[in-house]
C-alpha cells in the first residue's frame, strides 16, 4: 500500500517562462536529505531545510546573467555548482555570501547540466553530448569538447545514476522524430546509444525516470497517451559488445486512464519497484480534471493514493527521500509519501474500487493470469509492438472496431463478430478485450430496450475472463431481463459478486413464479441434480426405510389442520416434498454456493418479503432434511451446495427475519418443524458423543492393563 500524507508548501514560484515548466528550473538534493536546492527559473538558487520549510541560504546572479541549469550540491567537495549563461561554471561554498565572488570558470562549449550523485564526483553534460568530470574540467576549462551528437540532435532529458560504485549518465535525445537514449559509463568510458522504439501515432516520451535495482537500470518512459513503459539496461556492460546502436526493449507497465483529450504535459517518477507517482493525468474517478497527484502500483495496475493539487500542474515532479516535490499553481508543495510492500488483500480492495469508479476497460480483468511484472500490449496498440507475438493470428476485426459495431450493429451481427473474435484472439488479448466488449454490450442493452444479445453474453462468460468487477451491470441487466440462464452461468463463474447483488438476485428468483422459471433453459447438470434429489425422496418413501441410526416416531395421521403448507405433518420425518420447482431450486442452489460474508449480507437479506422468506426457508429445510439423509451423496454432480452452506444460510435467514418469523402465523409451523428437527439432530449427536466416550474407555482399558506394584512376567526376545 502506498499513502500520500498531508503536504505543505515549501516556497512560492516566480513567473512562468513557458507552459510546460513552472518557474522552477530544478530541485536537487542538498547536503543531507533534509536540504534541497531549488533553482529558480529566473536568477536565484535557494537552499531549503525541508522539515522547517525555511530557506537557509539564497544566492542570486547579477542582472543580465541567467542561470541555465539547476544548481547541484557536490557532496565530495561540499560545494554548490551552477552554470550561468551556458558556459560559466560557478562553484561556491555554503558560507559564501555572494555567488559573484566565488570561483568561476568559463568553458569552451555550452553546458547542458551539471549532474551530481551522492558520494561521487559531479559530472558535466554538454549540449553536444560530451561528458566530463567537473574536477577535470575545472583544471583546464578551455579544453576542447568533442561533438558526440549529430546536428539537430537535441538532448531532451538527462540524469545520473549511481550504484555499486558505477556511475552512469543517461540522456535521451531527439532527432527528426527519432528518439535515442545514451548511456555513458565510466572506467572504462563507454557510450552506448540505444534506439527508443516509438509508435507511429505517438509523440515523444514526455517524462523519464531512472532508478537502479540490483544490477540493472530501470528506465521509465511516460507517453502522452498514458502508457508507461519500462526498459531495463544492465548497470555494467561487457567490455566488448558496445558497438553501434542497440535496441532498447521495453515493456508496458501501466496504462493510465485518459480523458477525452491528448495530453501534452505530465510527469512520472519511480518510487520503488512497484510504485510510480504521476502528475498531470486525470484521476480515474474525477473525470478529466488533471490536477491530481496519483501513486499507481504497476504490478497490480491499481491506484494506490491520490491527492488533488490546486492550480495548474506542469510536467515537473521530483522525489527525494520519501517526499514528492510538486510545483503547482504558484507554489511548490512537498508531499511525504510511503510505499509499503503491497499486501494482497489491500491491493485487491483498491483494485475493485478503482475499477468500478473508472470503468477503465483497458485494465486487466484478472491479474492472476498475468505473468508478474510484465504486461503485454493493451489491445489498443496493434502495431509494431505486437510483432513480438509473431504467431498471433490476426482477428478479422480489432476490439475497437467490434466496439464500434456493438454501438450500432444488430444482435446477430454482433454475435457473429464477437464469436469470430473470441475464436481468433490469443488468450492474453482476449482477456483484455472481453471486459471492454461486455461493458459496451451492457451499456447498449441498457439504453436500447430491443437490444439484448443473450448468446453473446454467454459466449463472453464462457471465456471465463469476466468477473463481476469488470462488468458490474451485467448481472443486474440479466435479472432485469429475467435471463435466468445467464444469471446461473454468472453465479457459477463470478467469484466476486457483492452481497447486495446476491440478495437482489435471490429476491428476483424467489419472486418469479415457478411456472415462468420452469420454461427457462438452465444448466442441465444442476437441473438433473434437483431432479435426482426430489426423486430419491420418493424412492425412499416407497422403501419406507430410514438410514441407520435414526428412528423417527410413528407418523401422525391427523392431517385435518394441515394448511396449504407443502410440509408433511411429521416434523421429524425426513420426507418432505420440494417446496419449489426444479428450476427454481437449481437457481437457489447457485445462490447458496456464492461466496459471501455474513455482515454485509445480513442487512440485504432483510429486504426479502415474508412469503419469500418462508418459501426460501422451506426450501432450505427441504435441503437440510435431504442432506441429513445423505441423499446428496448418492447423486453424481460437480456443483452441489455443501451441508455447511445450507446450515449457514438457514442461520442467516433466521437471524435476518427472526422477529417476523416469530410473529407471522404462516411461519409458525415451519419454524417449529425446523426447531424440532434440529433438536432431534442435536439429541442424536449428543447420544453419539456419549457412545464415543464409552468407546474411548473400551480402547483405553485395553491399553492400560494394570500390573499392580509388582509382577513377575516372562518375556521372550527373538
Amino acid at each position: 500500500m502506498a499513502a500520500l500524507f498531508e503536504g505543505y508548501t515549501l516556497c512560492g514560484i516566480g513567473p512562468t517562462r513557458n507552459s510546460s515548466n513552472s518557474g522552477i528550473l530544478g530541485i536537487e538534493l542538498g547536503r543531507d536529505i533534509d536540504h534541497v536546492l531549488v533553482t529558480d527559473a529566473s536568477r536565484s538558487v535557494t537552499v531549503y531545510k525541508v522539515s522547517d520549510q525555511k530557506p537557509t541560504g539564497s544566492w542570486t546572479v547579477k542582472h543580465g546573467q541567467i542561470i541555465t541549469c539547476p544548481a547541484v550540491f557536490n557532496t565530495q567537495s561540499q560545494e554548490y555548482v551552477v552554470v550561468t549563461d551556458d558556459r560559466v561554471v560557478r562553484v561556491w561554498k555554503e558560507n559564501d555570501v555572494h555567488m559573484e565572488k566565488a570561483f568561476k570558470a568559463t568553458v569552451s562549449a555550452d553546458v547542458l547540466r551539471v549532474l551530481s550523485a551522492a558520494e561521487s564526483e559531479a559530472v558535466v553534460l554538454f549540449c553536444c553530448g560530451a561528458v566530463r568530470f567537473l574536477d577535470s574540467l575545472l583544471t583546464s576549462p578551455q579544453q576542447p569538447i568533442e561533438d558526440v551528437l549529430a546536428k539537430e540532435e537535441i538532448i531532451r532529458w538527462s540524469t545520473v545514476v549511481k550504484a555499486e560504485h558505477q556511475l552512469v549518465v543517461l540522456f535521451s535525445t531527439e532527432q527528426r522524430g527519432d528518439h535515442w537514449l545514451y548511456a555513458q559509463r565510466f572506467n572504462p568510458n563507454t557510450l552506448v546509444k540505444h534506439r527508443i522504439e516509438t509508435e507511429p501515432g505517438l509523440s515523444a516520451p514526455i517524462s523519464f525516470s531512472a532508478t537502479c535495482r540490483g544490477r540493472n537500470l530501470h528506465l521509465l518512459f511516460l507517453y502522452s497517451n498514458g502508457s508507461l513503459y519500462e526498459s531495463v539496461l544492465p548497470l555494467r556492460i561487457s567490455a566488448t559488445g558496445a558497438e553501434g546502436v542497440q535496441a532498447l526493449p521495453r515493456s508496458l507497465r501501466l496504462s493510465l486512464p485518459l480523458g477525452e483529450e491528448e495530453l501534452i504535459s505530465g510527469a512520472a517518477v519511480v518510487l520503488d519497484e512497484a510504485h510510480v507517482a504521476v502528475v498531470g493525468f486525470p484521476h480515474p474517478s474525477a473525470g478529466t480534471c488533471k490536477d491530481y497527484l496519483c501513486i499507481w502500483n504497476t504490478h497490480f495496475q491499481t491506484l494506490q493514493a491520490s491527492k488533488e493539487m490546486s492550480g495548474r500542474i506542469c510536467s515537473q515532479l521530483w522525489c527525494y527521500s520519501g517526499k514528492l516535490y510538486v510545483p503547482h499553481g504558484k507554489m511548490l508543495s512537498v508531499i511525504p509519501f510511503e510505499c509499503q510492500k503491497s499486501s494482497l488483500a489491500a491491493t485487491m480492495g483498491k483494485l475493485k474500487q478503482s475499477r468500478s469508479e473508472s470503468k477503465s476497460c483497458s485494465l486487466l480483468s484478472s491479474w492472476t493470469a498475468q505473468p508478474y511484472g510484465e504486461i503485454t500490449q493493451t489491445p489498443g496498440f496493434k502495431s509494431r509492438m505486437s510483432t513480438r507475438h509473431t504467431s498471433v493470428v490476426k482477428s478479422a476485426l480489432t476490439v475497437d472496431q467490434i466496439i464500434e459495431h456493438i454501438k450500432t450493429g444488430a444482435v446477430e451481427d454482433v454475435q457473429a463478430e464477437v464469436g469470430e473474435f473470441i475464436r481468433l484472439t490469443t488468450q492474453t488479448d482476449l482477456q483484455l478485450a472481453t471486459g471492454r466488449m461486455a461493458l459496451e454490450l451492457v451499456s447498449r442493452s441498457q439504453t436500447d430496450a430491443n437490444f439484448y444479445p443473450h448468446a453473446v453474453f454467454l459466449q463472453l462468460l464462457e471465456t471465463q475472463y469476466l468477473c463481476y468487477s469488470v462488468c458490474p451491470d451485467l448481472l443486474s441487466l440479466a435479472m432485469m431481463k429475467k435471463d435466468f440462464h445467464l444469471c446461473q452461468i454468472a453465479f457459477q463463474i463470478f467469484p466476486d459478486i457483492p452481497e447486495d447483488v446476491t440478495c437482489a438476485c435471490l429476491k428476483t428468483i424467489l419472486s418469479t413464479p415457478d411456472s415462468e422459471i420452469e420454461t427457462v433453459n438452465l444448466d442441465t447438470e444442476s437441473v438433473i441434480f434437483m431432479k435426482m434429489l426430489t426423486q430419491t425422496q420418493s424412492g425412499l418413501e416407497e422403501e419406507g426405510g430410514q438410514q441407520n441410526g435414526f428412528c423417527p416416531p410413528a407418523i401422525e395421521t391427523d392431517v385435518s389442520d394441515a394448511p396449504s403448507s407443502m410440509l408433511q405433518r411429521d416434523p421429524l420425518s425426513l420426507v418432505m416434498s420440494c417446496p419449489v420447482g426444479l428450476h427454481k431450486g437449481a437457481l437457489l442452489n447457485e445462490v447458496l454456493q456464492t461466496a459471501y460474508s455474513n455482515k454485509p449480507l445480513l442487512p440485504h437479506l432483510k429486504d426479502l418479503t415474508v412469503p419469500q422468506v418462508i418459501v426460501f426457508l422451506q426450501y432450505l429445510l427441504f435441503l437440510y432434511l435431504k442432506y441429513s439423509h445423505d441423499a446428496h451423496k448418492q447423486i453424481p454432480a460437480l456443483r452441489t451446495p455443501s451441508f455447511s452452506q445450507i446450515i449457514d444460510w438457514i442461520c442467516l435467514l433466521l437471524d435476518a427475519h427472526f422477529t417476523i418469523l416469530a410473529v407471522a402465523p404462516e411461519a409458525k409451523r415451519l419454524v417449529s418443524d425446523l426447531h424440532k428437527f434440529v433438536r432431534s439432530q442435536v439429541k442424536l449427536y449428543a447420544e453419539l458423543g456419549k457412545i464415543e466416550g464409552s468407546l474411548q474407555v473400551l480402547k483405553k482399558s485395553k491399553q492400560s492393563e494394570d500390573f499392580g506394584m509388582y509382577s513377575i512376567e516372562v518375556i521372550e526376545l527373538f
Partner: protein, 682 residues
C-alpha cells in the same frame, strides 16, 4: 534368543523435585537447573542435554535463584544464604549469609564483577566476586517491601528490581533509585501485583512479568510503560531473553511458555516492536523457569520435567535436533541391585530402602504373568542423618554391605540376615576423606571403591571387623573433574572410572596403579561395565555411540571397530535418553544388555549389525516368522519396548531381569493440582 523372567517393579516411589530456576552458560553451553529440594544439575547442551553433574540438595534450603558469573555458579535461597558451587568436585563450595532475610533473587552482572541479591527486607545487596570468595560490598537504597526479581543492565551500571506493585531502577554507582514504575493491579484491585521477573535489555527496555498475567515493556529513560501484553489469566513467573535480545520467552502458571520477538511489522522497515509470536504448551503445571538458548527454549516447573523445545526457525527441520526433548529422570541410576542375593536398594533424597524380590511359582509362556508366591519385602528403611541429601549409594553383590554418601560423609552398614531377622551394624570410624561421588563394590564384595575429589578413587577393604583404607588410585595427569561412574571387573583385577571431562581411566587393582586411559571421546560416558570373561570395557556415551575397549590389549576390540565402520542405525542414534546401565549375560558372553528410559536392548555381538535399510525394531516381525527363518532375519540389536519409563534394569545371577518402572502417571498423581483451567464441556 531366549526367554527371561522379569521382575516388574513399580514400588520405587521416586519423586523428582520441581524445577525452580534455570541458568544458561553460553560459552560453555551448559544449562544449570535448580530444583526445589536444593539440588543443582548441570546439563550439557551440546551433548544431547546429558546431565553431566548433579549436586544433591539439602533440606530447608529453599533455593530461589541461580546465576553464572563466568564459569562460577551461585545460588541463593529463602534461607538467606548465597551458595557457590564447586563444579569440579560437584559439591557446595561455601555458603555465606546475606543478612537480609530470605533472598528472592540473585543475578550476576555480565562483567563478572558483582552479584546482586534481592532480599526480603527490601535491600538489593551487592557482592564483589573475588577470586576465591564473594564479599559484601554495599546495599542499594533500601525499599519498602521485598525485592522479588532483579536484572542487571548489560553495561552493569543499572539494575532493575521487581517488587510488589512496582519496578525500581537503581543506579549501581550511587545506589539511588532512578525511576519507580508502578504496575497496574489489573481487575482485582485488592490483590497486590508481584513483579515475578524482570529483564533489562541493553537498549534500555525493561521487560517485566507479573502476577496479573501481564508482560510489560518499559522505557528506563522516561520510566514509562511502552507496551503491555496480557499473556495469562494467572501469573507470569519467568522471563528469559535470547543472547542477541531479539526474542523473549515468558513462562506462566498456566503451564505454557509464550515467545515474544522483536520484529518489524512491515517488511524491510526498521521500526521494530515486541510482538507475541509463539505459544508452547508442554507443561501441565506452573512454569517456574525458562531459558532461551541458541536453538531452543528450555523450560521447567512444578511438573518436574525439563522440556527442551527446539525453535524450528533456528535449526534444520526433521533432524533429531528438531524433536521435543523432555528430561524426566536423572541420568544416573538411583537403584542398585545385589545380584547374588536378589536385593534392591532404592535411593531417595533422604533415605534408602532395601527390598527383597518376590518369588514366582511354576512356568509360564512368554507374554504371561506368573503367580507370585512370595511378595517383595521391604527389609530396611535407612534414614540419613543431617540435612544433606544422598549423593550416591550401593549395595554389594552379596547383599551384605550397604554404602551411601552425602556431601559430607560416607555411611557404611553391614547387614545380617538370619531367616526373617534383619539387623544392621553401622561401621564406625570411617575416614573422613571417603565422602564420595560414586560408590562401587567389587564383585566378591571384599572391597569398596569410592570416587573422591581430584578424580581419585579410594579403595577400602571390607572385613567382618570393619573397613580399612588400603589405597588411593590417582590418574597421572589430565583433569581433576569428579568421577561419576565406576566399574569393577568380575575377576577383581581391574577398575574403570569415568569423569566429567569424558576421561576413562583403567586401574590395575593388584598393582594399585593406572593401567591405561581410554582415548577421550567427545561425548560423556553414560554407562560402562567390564566384561567378565574378555575383560573388555564396554562404554555407552550420551550421544548413543558405543565402544568396546580391550583392557588387556589397551585397544578397541574388533567388534567395536566393526561397529564404527558400519555405523549405528539412525533409530538407535535418535533416542533421546542416554543408556543408564550396561550388563553382561554370564551364560552368553556375546550378549550385552543395555537400557535407557524407554527400552532395554540385548546386543548379540555374534549377529550381523543392522544397516540403514534393515528394519531396526524387528521383534514383532521376528515373532511372526517361523523359527528357521528368524536367524537370517535377525540382527545384533534386540530391542524390547514392553516396559515404559524405566529407572533401572539389572540382570540377576539367576538369569532373571529386574525392571524398575516409574510410570509418569504415578508421578503426576503426586504433583499438586495445577491451576484450574476452564476446558470446553467440563
Amino acid at each position: 534368543m531366549g526367554e527371561f523372567k522379569v521382575h516388574r517393579v513399580r514400588f520405587f516411589d521416586y519423586m523428582p523435585s520441581a524445577i525452580r530456576a534455570l541458568a544458561f552458560n553460553q560459552p560453555n553451553e551448559t544449562m544449570a537447573v535448580a530444583r526445589m529440594d536444593g539440588a543443582v544439575e548441570i546439563f550439557l547442551v551440546s551433548d544431547k542435554f546429558f546431565q553431566g553433574k548433579i549436586i544433591p540438595g539439602r533440606d530447608q534450603c529453599g533455593i530461589e535463584g541461580l546465576t553464572w558469573v563466568g564459569e562460577r555458579l551461585f545460588s541463593a535461597g529463602l534461607n538467606g544464604q548465597i551458595t557457590e558451587y564447586d563444579l569440579k568436585n560437584q559439591r557446595v563450595k561455601y555458603t555465606i549469609d546475606a543478612y537480609g532475610g530470605p533472598i528472592w533473587a540473585i543475578t550476576g552482572n555480565q562483567q563478572g564483577t558483582h552479584l546482586a541479591v534481592g532480599c526480603e527486607d527490601g535491600t538489593v545487596k551487592l557482592f564483589a566476586v573475588n577470586e576465591d570468595k564473594i564479599q559484601f560490598e554495599r546495599n542499594l537504597d533500601r525499599q519498602k517491601g521485598r525485592i522479588v526479581s532483579l536484572s542487571w543492565h548489560p553495561s552493569g551500571s543499572k539494575i532493575a528490581a521487581g517488587m510488589i506493585d512496582m519496578i525500581q531502577i537503581f543506579n549501581v554507582e550511587t545506589g539511588q533509585s532512578i525511576h519507580r514504575m508502578l504496575t497496574d493491579r489489573g481487575t482485582s484491585r485488592s490483590k497486590e501485583c508481584m513483579v515475578w521477573c524482570v529483564v533489562y535489555l541493553s537498549d534500555g527496555t525493561i521487560i517485566s512479568g507479573d502476577s496479573g498475567g501481564m508482560v510489560k515493556m518499559w522505557n528506563d529513560h522516561t520510566g514509562t510503560l511502552i507496551k503491555s501484553h496480557n499473556v495469562s489469566t494467572c501469573d507470569v513467573l519467568a522471563l528469559s531473553v535470547s543472547r542477541n535480545e531479539d526474542s523473549i520467552v515468558a513462562g506462566t502458571s498456566e503451564g505454557f511458555v509464550v515467545q515474544f520477538q522483536f520484529i518489524s511489522l512491515v517488511l524491510e522497515k526498521n521500526d521494530k516492536e515486541w510482538v507475541r509470536t509463539r505459544t508452547f504448551r508442554n507443561h501441565t503445571h506452573d512454569v517456574r523457569a525458562v531459558a532461551e538458548i541458541t536453538t531452543a527454549v528450555v523450560s521447567g516447573g512444578m511438573d518436574t520435567q525439563l522440556v527442551v523445545r527446539p525453535l524450528l526457525d533456528k535449526i534444520e527441520v526433521n533432524s533429531s535436533a528438531s524433536a521435543l526433548q523432555k528430561i524426566i529422570f536423572p541420568h544416573r541410576s538411583l537403584v542398585s541391585c545385589a545380584r547374588k542375593a536378589g536385593l534392591m536398594l532404592f535411593q531417595y533424597p533422604g533415605h534408602l530402602e532395601l527390598w527383597r524380590l518376590g518369588e514366582s511359582e511354576g512356568q509360564g509362556i512368554p507374554g504371561s504373568s506368573l503367580l507370585v508366591k512370595t511378595n517383595p519385602e521391604k527389609l530396611l528403611h535407612l534414614k540419613v542423618k543431617g540435612e544433606d541429601h544422598i549423593r550416591c549409594s550401593a549395595v554389594s553383590p552379596c547383599g551384605e554391605w550397604i554404602a551411601y554418601s552425602t556431601a559430607s560423609s560416607l555411611g557404611l552398614y553391614r547387614l545380617h540376615c538370619d531367616n526373617n531377622n534383619i539387623s544392621i551394624t553401622k561401621i564406625s570410624k570411617i575416614p573422613k576423606v571417603l565422602s564420595s561421588a560414586k560408590l562401587c563394590f567389587s564383585s566378591d564384595s571384599s572391597h569398596l571403591f569410592s570416587a573422591s575429589t581430584q578424580s581419585s578413587v579410594h579403595v577400602v577393604s571390607l572385613s567382618q571387623s570393619g573397613c580399612k583404607l588400603v589405597g588411593t588410585l590417582k590418574p597421572k595427569s589430565g583433569s581433576h573433574q569428579a568421577i561419576h561412574l565406576l566399574a569393577a571387573s568380575e575377576d577383581g583385577k581391574w577398575l574403570a572410572s569415568a569423569n566429567s571431562d569424558h576421561e576413562v581411566h583403567v586401574y590395575n587393582l593388584q598393582k594399585k596403579e593406572l593401567h591405561c586411559t581410554v582415548p577421550i571421546y567427545s561425548s560423556a560416558v553414560s554407562a560402562m561395565a567390564i566384561h567378565p570373561e574378555t575383560n573388555c570395557l564396554f562404554m555407552m556415551h550420551a550421544d548413543q555411540r558405543m565402544f568396546e575397549f580391550s583392557i588387556e590389549q589397551k585397544q578397541y576390540s574388533d567388534w567395536s571397530r566393526s561397529v564404527q565402520r558400519n555405523g549405528l542405525h539412525y533409530i538407535w542414534l535418535e533416542r533421546d535418553t542416554p543408556c543408564l546401565n550396561v550388563m553382561f549375560n554370564p551364560q552368553n558372553p556375546s550378549h550385552v544388555i543395555l537400557h535407557d528410559t524407554y527400552m532395554f536392548c540385548i546386543i548379540d555381538k555374534s549377529l550381523p549389525l543392522p544397516d540403514v535399510k534393515t528394519q531396526f525394531l524387528n521383534q514383532l516381525t521376528l515373532k511372526s516368522l517361523p523359527k528357521e527363518k528368524r536367524k537370517s532375519e535377525s540382527h545384533a540389536f534386540k530391542v524390547c519396548k514392553t516396559f515404559r519409563e524405566m529407572l533401572h534394569v539389572e540382570l540377576m545371577s539367576d538369569q532373571s531381569l529386574v525392571v524398575v518402572e516409574r510410570p509418569l502417571v504415578d508421578i503426576s498423581t503426586q504433583l499438586p493440582a495445577p491451576i484450574k483451567q476452564k476446558k470446553f464441556a467440563t
